[in-house]
Symmetry: C2
Subunit: 152 residues, 2 copies
């Protein structure tokens, strides 16, 4: 079970001091979500059920060779982003994603919770922007297919 909230970003803190990873991911299918991801030197296959804040998710490590073989079957342009891990209060971590390539200019932040109650009561820091947890357009499978959403 994955419980998380997702936000746009008003202005992020100085990033130099935070750990980060380069992520490249693509989708064998966007409905249901079947995703492959390269993160640093690790490779994963992930399957996700429908849903917004709460989703079933299964992630399995795969080899570089399996990743490359699955990569020949993807449906969409890959998503490339740098993810920064920024500590918040209450032992939470903000995962700040700065997108590259065809999504250059987009920046989102996610926080993962251990319960729906803690997700509901979360007070976002100042630098967080609009809450997009329920906005399907910002799901990475849709970003891969449709690009950056237009905000009014």
């Amino acid at each position: 079970m994955e419980i998380e909230r997702k936000f746009l970003v008003n202005n992020y803190p100085l990033l130099e001091t935070y750990p980060c990873k380069n992520i490249k991911q693509a989708y064998l299918s966007t409905d249901p979500v079947i995703r492959i991801r390269e993160m640093g030197e690790l490779y994963f296959l992930t399957v996700k059920s429908q849903g917004h804040m709460v989703r079933e998710e299964f992630e399995m490590p795969i080899t570089k060779e399996q990743f490359e073989s699955l990569y020949t079957k993807v449906d969409t342009s890959p998503i490339e982003k740098t993810r920064y891990f920024i500590p918040l209060d209450n032992h939470l971590t903000a995962e700040l994603d700065i997108y590259k390539g065809h999504l250059e200019g987009l920046c989102t932040v996610e926080v993962e919770f251990t319960s729906v109650a803690s997700a509901d009561s979360f007070k976002a820091p100042q630098w967080f922007g609009k809450d997009i947890t329920l906005d399907n357009r910002y799901k990475n499978n849709n970003l891969a297919t449709y690009g950056i959403p237009i905000e009014e």
Copy 2:
């Protein structure tokens, strides 16, 4: 976690009295295993890790529409079989698969266990044949790709 053993079949019991389901399945990928399955009127997406008797497995219900959309992406011929559920001692169930189509003539039986200890101590009934738990050739992803193995 899935713990199971798989056998060939010497001669199976009279099947008329046992519940059964028609299964059709195909693979988006055989390594790692990404499988779609139609069973009766239910549809599933399943991802499996490497392994023989013990494997990580995640199964997720999907809709008929999702099944049909994923079916356009499969890598292999579909596997079609009728699965009979035959009760054994100790609350175990034999899942007897009688294959059709390009695997016509093949018949295997699987038993799922709740622990490695019970899998190890399992005494197969007379009608079970050769233990093929460790034989990769009988994994359904390989059957889909290579057909029925030749036994010496």
